[in-house]
Symmetry: none
C-alpha cells in the first residue's frame, strides 16, 4: 500500500502513453549514451514557471537547477555545501554546457519575501530570510517606499537580482575564463507568468526586452 498522490500516478500514465511512446527510441538512446544538453537553466521552484513548459523542451535538452528565486551565490570554495554551485560546476565541468540562462519570473514569492522580510508566514523561518539575504543591500537600495508601486518594486528587484546572479556567475574562475574564450555564454531572462511572454536581457545594457521573432 502506498499513499502516492493519485494525480501524479495518472500524470505518469499519460506520459507513458503519450510522449514516452512517441519518443521511446530517443529517450532510450539518451539513457544509454548519456545526457548532452547544451543549455543550463537556473530557474525558480515556482509551479508556474517550469523551464520545460516555457521552452517547450523535451528530454535531454535542458539541465535545470531550481531554487527559490533563481539565485546564484558568489564563488565560495570554503568547503561548505553549496548546492547551486555544485549544479553549476557539474554543468560546466562534467557536461561542458555552452549556455547558462538565469531565468526569473513575475510575482516571485522569494523576491516578495526579500522586499517584506518581516511578514508572516516566513518571518519566523530559518532559511528563506537567510537565503534571500544573498541579495545583500539590493532590496534596501530600491528607493523610497511608496515611490514605485509594490508591483513595480517587485518586478524591478526580480530583474536586478538576475543581473546580480550573472555577476556572481562570473566570480567562478572557470566561468569567467570560458566566457572570455567564447566557449560559454551567459544569459538573463524573465518570464511573465500571466501573459506567457519571455523577456530577454540585453547583454550590454542589462535591459529586458521582448525578443524579435
Amino acid at each position: 500500500m502506498h499513499t502516492f498522490p493519485e494525480h501524479l500516478l495518472q500524470g505518469h500514465a499519460n506520459f507513458m502513453a503519450g510522449r514516452y511512446m512517441r519518443e521511446k527510441d530517443r529517450i532510450r538512446d539518451l539513457a544509454s549514451e548519456g545526457q548532452n544538453p547544451s543549455t543550463m537553466i537556473i530557474a525558480c521552484c515556482d509551479s508556474r514557471a517550469a523551464p520545460e513548459m516555457i521552452f517547450d523542451s523535451g528530454p535531454g535538452e535542458l539541465f535545470v537547477l531550481r531554487n527559490v528565486a533563481n539565485l546564484v551565490p558568489t564563488y565560495q570554495p570554503d568547503g561548505g555545501q553549496h548546492g547551486t554551485s555544485a549544479g553549476i560546476e557539474f554543468a560546466v565541468k562534467a557536461l561542458a554546457i555552452e549556455n547558462i540562462v538565469v531565468m526569473g519570473h513575475g510575482r516571485c514569492g522569494g523576491i516578495k519575501a526579500a522586499l517584506a522580510p518581516n511578514q508572516a508566514p516566513l518571518d519566523a523561518g530559518d532559511f528563506i530570510g537567510k537565503w534571500m539575504a544573498m541579495l545583500g543591500e539590493l532590496p534596501g537600495q530600491l528607493g523610497k517606499n511608496g515611490l514605485m508601486t509594490q508591483a513595480e518594486r517587485q518586478t524591478a528587484l526580480e530583474r536586478i537580482s538576475i543581473r546580480n546572479s550573472l555577476r556572481n556567475l562570473r566570480t567562478f574562475p572557470y566561468i569567467a575564463e570560458l566566457e572570455k574564450a567564447g566557449k560559454l555564454l551567459l544569459h538573463g531572462a524573465w518570464f511573465d507568468i500571466s501573459t506567457g511572454e519571455l523577456w530577454i536581457m540585453d547583454a550590454k545594457s542589462g535591459d529586458f526586452q521582448r525578443p524579435n521573432i
Copy 2:
C-alpha cells in the same frame, strides 16, 4: 542584438502558440490569484528527468526544487545559506504543501561522482564533491567492489540516498510535526530514464516498487 539560444526562442514560440493559447485563462488566473500547488518535488537537475514531463503536469501543479542528485540536507539553522532548506521552508510555510516527493533517477551523475570521487573531470572541483559528501558514510558502506555491478551499486545508492533525504526531511521540526498530524505526506520515487518507468517507495519497508495502475 542578443545571443539568446535560438532553440529556446523557438521553443517559447511553440509554447505561446500551443499550451498558452489553450490554457490562457487558467494561466492568467494562476498569475493573479497566486500559485497553490499541493505537491513539492525535489528532483535532480538532469536534463532527462524533468518532473513536469514525467508527471505530464501543467502550470501551477508542482513546486519543483532541483539540485544535483536531489539531495536534502538535515535541518541546520546555523545562519548559512541553505538553498534546498529555503525551498522546503517556502513550500511548507508559505504554500502549505501537502506532499513532498523526493524523486531520484537512474544513471544520476551526482551519485556516480559519489561512488567514484576521484574521477575526472569532477575530482578537482570545489563543490560537487562537497555536495555529495552530504551522503556521509553511505557510499562506503555499500559492500565490496565488484560484487554488485557498477550499475547495481549506483541504483542501490540512488535509492539509499532517497531514503536518507526523507530521513533528513524529518529533522525539520515543522515537517515532523505536520507529518505526525497527518497534514503532510512524504514520498520517495525513482524514475528510470531509460524505460520511463516510475518506481514508488513503500513507506514502511523503504522498497521501491512499480505502482499498480
Copy 3:
C-alpha cells in the same frame, strides 16, 4: 485405490483434452525421434517460476534443471554425486545444447535463507544451509545491514548469485571451450514473480535489463 492428488489427475485430464489433442503428432514425433532442445534452463524449484510458463514453451523446447535457488557449482570431478553437474553434462554432451540460461527470480526462498541463515524453520536443517553455502563469502560482502532494504539486499544477491553461477559454468572445461568456439552461449536472466517481467543480463557489464521487444 490410490491417494494420488486429485488436482493433479484433473490437471492431467485437462492436458490430454487440450494440448495433447492439439499437438499429438508433434509430441509423438518428439517421443520417437528423441528430444532436441537448443536451450537448457537452470531454474529454481519455486512454484511461481516455472520456465515453461515464463517462456510459454511447449514440449521439446527446454531442457530444464531445477534446484533450490538455481545454483551451479564449480567443476568438481571428484567422484561425488553432483546432480546439477550431471544435468549440465547431459545437456552439453548428449544434447549439444546451444544456450544455457541461468534464471533466478525475485523473493527466492533459498537466497533469503542465505541472507538469514539462522532463521527458523531452516536453521536446524542438514541440507539447505550447506547448499546455499555454495555462495561462499558473497552474502557477507553485501554491505552494511540496514543500508539497502531487506528486499534490495535479496534482489542484489539473487543477481550476484546468477553471475556467480555463470562464472562456475565456465570452470567446466568443455563449456569454456565451446563458448570460446562460439558454439555455446551462456545467459543470465531474472524473473520478477510479481510483475511478470523478465530481466536479461548484459554479457559485458553483468547488469540486468528489460529486453527491448
Copy 4:
C-alpha cells in the same frame, strides 16, 4: 546488446500478453503473500516432461525439482552439497508440503545411460555416470541381456528407479515421521511422453496403473 535467444523473448511476450494479463491479480498476490504449494514434484530435466504441462498447472501450484532421471539420494547429512536433498528439505520444512510425487518418464536419457554406461558421448563424462550410479546394483540386477527388449529393460528400470527413490525419501527422518503421522503422502508416477498417458504407482504393490478418471 544481448544475444538472448529470440524464441525465449517471444515466448515471454506471449506469456505477458496471455496468462499474465488474465491472472495478474492472482500472480501478484502469490508474490506478496508467498508461495503455498501443496505438492512437490521431483521430475526429470527432459524437455518433453515438464510437470506444469503434464498437470496443466498454474503459478503457485507445484514446487518442482528437476534433475537427470528424477533421482532421490538417501539421507546423507555428511556436510556435502546435496542439491536434491536441499530441495526436499525446503519443501518439507519451509513449505510444509503435503505430497511428494516422484515422476519418471519413458525414453529417459539418464536411465538409458545407466543401462549402457560405456556408450558415447557420456562414457567419458565426469558426472552423469557417477550420478546414475546412485542406482547402485539395480541396473545389473535387471536380468540377462537379450531377454527383455531394450525398450522393455528401459521402462522396467525407469519404474524400478522411482520405487528406489521413494524408498530413499523415507530415509529422511522427518519424512518417515510425517508420513507415519498422515501429514505427508509419497507418490510415484510415470509419464508416457508418446501417448501423453500418466501412470500412477499403487502404494501397496508398487505397480504402475492408468488412473480411473
